[in-house]
Amino acid sequence: MSATAVHGLWTTMGGVTSAAPGDRFAAPTIEYAQLAPVLIVLGAAVLGVLAEAFVPRRGRYYTQVFLTVVALAAAFAAVVALAAGGYGTTKARIAAMGAIAVDGPALFLQGTILLVSMVAVFTFAERRLDPEAHGNRVDSFVAQAGAVPGSDGEKAAVRAGFTTTEVFPLVLFAIAGMLVFPAANDLLTLFIALEVFSLPLYLLCAVARRKRLMSQEAAVKYFLLGAFSSAFLLFGIALLYGYAGSVSYATIANVVNGSVQGIDPALADTMGNDALLLIGGAMIVTGLLFKVGAVPFHMWTPDVYQGAPTPVTGFMAAATKVAAFGALLRLLYVVLPGLAWDWRPVMWAVAVVTMLGGAIVAITQTDIKRLLAYSSIAHAGFILAGVIATTPEGISSVLFYLVAYSFVTVGAFAVVTLVRDAGGEATHLSKWAGLGRRSPLVAAVFAVFLLAFAGIPLTSGFTGKFAVFKAAAEGGAAGLVVVGVISSAIAAFFYIRVIVLMFFSEPKADGPTVAVPSPLTMTTIAVGVAVTLVLGLAPQYFLDLASQAGVFVR
C-alpha cells in the first residue's frame, strides 16, 4: 500500500473520530481509479526494486527500461482517461479522504510530468554515447555507486560490466512523488510527496559515470540544502497547523477566510493567530521556492545542475519545476487566497529578483550546464510572474508555460549529452566554438532550444512568456511585465552568445565531437523540437487545454 493511501487513512481517522478514539473504525474510501496514475508508477517502482533483486544482471537494463516506459505510458493513459472522463472539469473532486485532489491542474500537470519524464527516461537509457567499456555498452551512470572514484573497485566494476540500473526504480519513485506533489490537498501529503521525490533525486545526482567527485559534491549539496529547506517547510506546516487546527487545505482556507470560527475559544491565542499564519505560510512558500529555484533560494541550482549526470539534470530541471510550481499554485490559490494581499507584494519582489538575478548572473557563465541552470532560475521568475496574477488566466498561463519550458529543457540537456570529448561531455562553452560548422544539425536544434528559452516568437518560449506576461498584466502587475521584458532582453544576451559561439566562431582543432545517439535520445530531442515549434506556431489546442484545466477544486 502506498504511503499516501496509508496517510489518508490516518488523517481521516484523526479528523473524524478525535472525540472517541478507537470506539469504531470507519473504513476509509480510497478512489483507486482516480489515483491510478500515481499507483501505477509506484507499483512499477516497487516492481523495479524487485527486478533489481531477482532479474539476472544481463537482463536488468532491458527489464527496467521496459518496465519504466510501460509504467509511464500506462500512467499517462490513465491521466488521459481521467481527463476524458471529466475529472479535470465537471467531476473534479478530492480523493483519498481529502488527501489528494483530482482536478484540472492536477491532471494537466501529471500528464506533463509523465510525458516529460518519459522523454527524459529515454536519455537515461541511452547507451551509445560513451565508448564501450570492455565490450559493454555504458550509459551515463556509474558502474557501481559504492565504489570509490578511481579505485580498483571501480575499475573492477567497470570491467565486470556493472551498471546502475537502480536509477530506473529511483526515477519512478521520484516521478510518483512529483505526481502527488501538485495534487496534494493537505499539508502532510505535500510534505511526504516532497520527500518522496526529493530523496531519489539526491541519489540520482550522485551516480554520474564521469566526473564523479563533482557528482557526489552535487548530491551532498543538494541533499543538505534540500533537507534544510524541508525543515523549513515542515516547521511552516507545524505553524499553519497550529493556526488552523488542521492540515487540510480546505479547512485552513476556511479559517483564513474567517468562515470557520475557533473550536475552542480558550485556545484563541493560537487558533486564528495571524502571526502563525503569516510565518507558517512564508516558511512553506520558502520550501517550495527552494524547489523551483527562485532567488534567493536558488544557489543550489547551478552546482547541482552541473554536477548531476546530464540526463538527471534534464529530468530534474523539467519535472521538478513542473511539480513544484503545481504545488505552489495550489497552495497560493487554494489555501492562501485570503492572504493574497499579503503574499502578492512579497512574491512580486521574489519574482523580480529571480528574473533579474538569473539573467544577470548567467551572462558570465562559462559552462553550458551552469548556464542552463541560471536560465532555469530566470524562467522560474517568469513563471512566478504568472503565479502572481491570481486569476484563472494566471493558472492556465503557468500551466502552459510549464509544458513549454519542460520540453525545451529536456531537449536542451539531451543535446548537451551529445557533445563529447575524451573526458565525457564537453560542457565548457569554449569547446562549443564552431559546433555549427562541424554539426550543423545538432547546432541548429540547440539553437532552436536557445531561441525558445530566449522567448523568440514562433517558438513555444514566446507563447509561454506571452501568456504569463499577459496574465500578469491583466492581474494588475504591469510593472512586473516591464521587469520581465527587461530581464528577457538581458537573458537574450547569453543565449545569443552561445549561438554566436556555435555558428560564428571558428572550430577549435581539438574540439569535441558530436556523438551519434541511439533512437532513444533522438526521440527525446525530436519531441523537444516538435513541442517547441508546435506550441510556437499553433498553440491554440494546448492553450485551450490549459485554460480548461485552470480551475482548482476546493
Binding site: 516568437p457 498584466a473 537574450a492 544576451f493 554566436v500 566562431s505
Partner: protein
C-alpha cells in the same frame, strides 16, 4: 472563398526557403537558381497584388481572416492598404537583385565537411526574411505583426553574423570577432526594442481586449474604447521605442553602421532597404493609428530626434573611412527624413515618407550593391584604398555615381520626389524644422561626392589597375534599379495613386488637417 493572394505572396518565398535549404550540398548553383526563381515568382505575385489593389476601394483590401490563437484574441488577419502595397512591391522587387548580387557571396572558401552548406543557407535565409517582411506588411493583427517583427531578426542575425563581408582589414580572427559583435549588437538592440514593445503589446490587449487593428480602430472611433491619456502614452512609447530602434532613429542607431559594415553588401541592402522599413512602416500603421493622441503628444520630441538624425547621420557619413559605413550613416540621415515626414502629420509629409521608404530602398540598393561589386573586386572597404576607378571601370563608376546621385536626391531621380514632399510637408507646419532638414541636402551632396571623388577619380591606383568592369550579372542588378529610379523620378503617379488614399485614412486617424495656404485662406 477567393484565392488567398496575400498569404500566397508570403508563403511562396517561405516555401522557396525550405526548398533552397534542402538542395544537396554539392548542387550549389541549383540552389541559387531555385532561390532566384522563387523570388521572381514572388515578384509576380506582388505585381498581382499591386494590380488587384483598387486605390479607391476599402482601406484594407484582399483581406484574409482566420482563427489562430483564440486564447490570446489573436487572429491570422491580413490586408493591405496603399502603404502596405507599396512596401510589399518594394520588397518583392529588391529581393531578386539581392540574390543576384550575392550570387557568389556565400560560396564556401574551401571544401568543408559535406554537411556544411553555407550557400543553401544564405539564400534560404534571404527568402525567409522576404517571407517574414512581406507578411509583416500585410498583417493587420498587432500580435501577428509583433511575432514577425521579432522573428525576422533571427534569419537576419544569421545572415549578418554567418556571411560577413570577406573584404576586411586585419586578421581573419579579428574580422570574425567584429562580425559577431555586429551581429550580436544587431540582434540584442532590436530584441531589446522588441521586448519593450512586447510589454506594450500586452498592455494594449489588456486595455483594448483585442489585437485586431480594425476592431480597435472601430472601438476607438465609436467611443466604446477609451484609453486614459497616461496609458496611451506609455503604450505609444513602448511601440515607438521598438520602431525607432528598427528605423533607426538617433540615438538608437549605433547598431546599423556595424551591421551594414560587416555584412555583405546584399545583406546590408536587406537590412537597410527592406527590414528597417518595417520600423517606419509600423510607425505609420500602428503608432499613428492606435495611439493618435499620444503620437501628437510626442511629435515635438520625435521631430527633434528626426532632425538630429538627418544632420548627425549626414555629418558622420562625411567622416567615415569605410564605404559601407558611410552608406549606413547616410541611411540614418534618410531615415530621419522618413520619420520627419511621418510625424509632420500632413498629407505631403506622409505621402512623401511612404514614397521615401520605397525610393530609399531602391536608391540605397543601387548604391550599396554597386559598392559591393567594387569592394569584392579590390577586397577592401576603405575609401582610401581606391582611386581612379573611373578610368578602368567606367560603367561601374557610372552606375555608382547614379546611385550616389539618387542618394543625394537629385531631381529627376525618384528620391527627389519623396524628399521634397517630406520637406514641404514638414515646412508647412514646422518651418524651422523644414529649413534644418533642408540643410541635409547640402550634406548629402558632400558625402556622396567626397566618396565618389576619392574612389572613382584621380590618378589610377596601382591596386585598382586591371580591375574588370561590371559583368553581365552585375549589370543585370544595376541597370534595372537605375531604370526604376529614373522611372519613378519622372512618373511617380502609379505609386502616389495607391499611397494617397491610405494617407488620407491616416490623416483621419490622427484627426489632422493640412494647413491652408495663406493666400487661399485669404480668398
Amino acid at each position: 472563398m477567393s484565392f488567398p493572394l496575400l498569404t500566397a505572396t508570403a508563403a511562396l518565398p517561405a516555401i522557396g526557403a525550405i526548398a533552397t535549404a534542402a538542395v544537396p550540398a554539392a548542387r550549389r548553383t541549383a540552389a541559387k537558381w531555385l532561390a532566384l526563381l522563387f523570388s521572381l515568382a514572388t515578384l509576380v505575385l506582388a505585381g498581382l497584388v499591386f494590380v488587384r489593389f483598387e486605390p479607391g476601394g476599402d482601406r484594407y483590401q484582399l483581406t484574409e481572416s482566420h482563427a489562430w490563437i483564440a486564447e490570446f484574441g489573436v487572429r491570422y488577419e491580413l490586408g493591405v492598404d496603399g502603404i502596405g502595397v507599396a512596401l510589399l512591391a518594394l520588397t518583392a522587387l529588391l529581393i531578386p537583385f539581392v540574390i543576384l548580387a550575392g550570387w557568389h557571396d556565400a560560396d564556401p572558401l574551401e571544401t568543408k565537411s559535406s554537411r556544411w552548406r553555407p550557400t543553401q543557407g544564405f539564400f534560404a535565409l534571404i527568402l525567409m526574411v522576404e517571407a517574414m517582411v512581406i507578411l509583416s506588411f500585410e498583417a493587420t493583427d498587432v500580435f501577428l505583426f509583433y511575432i514577425l517583427f521579432e522573428a525576422m531578426l533571427i534569419p537576419m542575425y544569421f545572415l549578418i553574423g554567418g556571411f560577413g563581408d570577406r573584404a576586411h582589414s586585419g586578421s581573419d580572427e579579428n574580422a570574425a570577432a567584429q562580425r559577431s559583435y555586429a551581429a550580436v549588437k544587431f540582434l540584442l538592440y532590436n530584441l531589446a526594442g522588441g521586448l519593450i514593445m512586447l510589454a506594450a503589446v500586452i498592455g494594449l490587449y489588456v486595455v483594448a481586449g483585442s489585437f485586431s487593428l480594425a476592431e480597435i480602430a472601430e472601438a476607438r472611433a465609436n467611443g466604446s474604447l477609451e484609453m486614459a491619456t497616461g496609458t496611451e502614452r506609455w503604450l505609444f512609447l513602448g511601440f515607438f521605442f521598438a520602431f525607432a530602434i528598427k528605423a533607426p532613429l538617433w540615438p538608437l542607431h549605433t547598431w546599423l553602421p556595424n551591421a551594414m559594415g560587416e555584412a555583405t553588401a546584399p545583406v546590408a541592402v536587406l537590412i537597410t532597404a527592406i527590414v528597417d522599413k518595417v520600423g517606419t512602416f509600423a510607425m505609420l500603421r500602428f503608432c499613428l493609428q492606435l495611439f493618435p493622441e499620444a503620437s501628437k503628444w510626442a511629435t515635438p520630441v520625435i521631430i527633434v530626434l528626426a532632425l538630429i538624425s538627418i544632420v548627425y547621420g549626414a555629418l558622420l557619413a562625411v567622416g567615415q573611412r569605410d564605404i559601407k559605413r558611410l552608406i549606413a550613416y547616410a541611411s540614418i540621415s534618410h531615415f530621419g527624413f522618413i520619420v520627419l515626414g511621418i510625424f509632420a502629420m500632413t498629407s505631403q509629409g506622409q505621402s512623401g515618407a511612404t514614397l521615401y521608404m520605397v525610393n530609399h530602398g531602391i536608391s540605397t540598393a543601387a548604391l550599396m550593391l554597386v559598392a559591393g561589386f567594387l569592394i569584392t573586386r579590390r577586397g577592401s572597404r576603405l575609401i582610401a584604398d581606391y582611386g581612379g576607378v573611373q578610368k578602368v571601370a567606367p560603367v561601374l563608376a557610372g552606375t555608382f555615381l547614379i546611385g550616389g546621385l539618387a542618394t543625394l536626391s537629385l531631381p529627376g531621380l525618384a528620391p527627389f520626389v519623396s524628399e521634397f514632399l517630406v520637406l514641404v510637408g514638414t515646412f508647412s507646419v514646422y518651418p524651422a524644422a523644414g529649413v534644418i532638414a533642408t540643410s541635409g541636402i547640402v550634406l548629402a551632396a558632400l558625402y556622396v561626392l567626397v566618396l565618389y571623388q576619392r574612389t572613382m577619380t584621380g590618378p589610377v591606383k596601382a591596386e585598382v589597375r586591371g580591375m574588370p568592369d561590371l559583368r553581365v550579372r552585375e549589370l543585370a542588378v544595376a541597370l534595372p534599379l537605375i531604370a526604376v529610379l529614373i522611372g519613378l523620378g519622372v512618373y511617380p503617379k502609379p505609386l502616389t495613386e495607391v499611397v494617397n488614399p491610405a494617407v488620407k485614412h491616416t490623416m483621419q486617424d490622427v484627426q489632422k488637417q493640412d494647413p491652408q495656404p495663406e493666400v487661399e485662406a485669404a480668398k
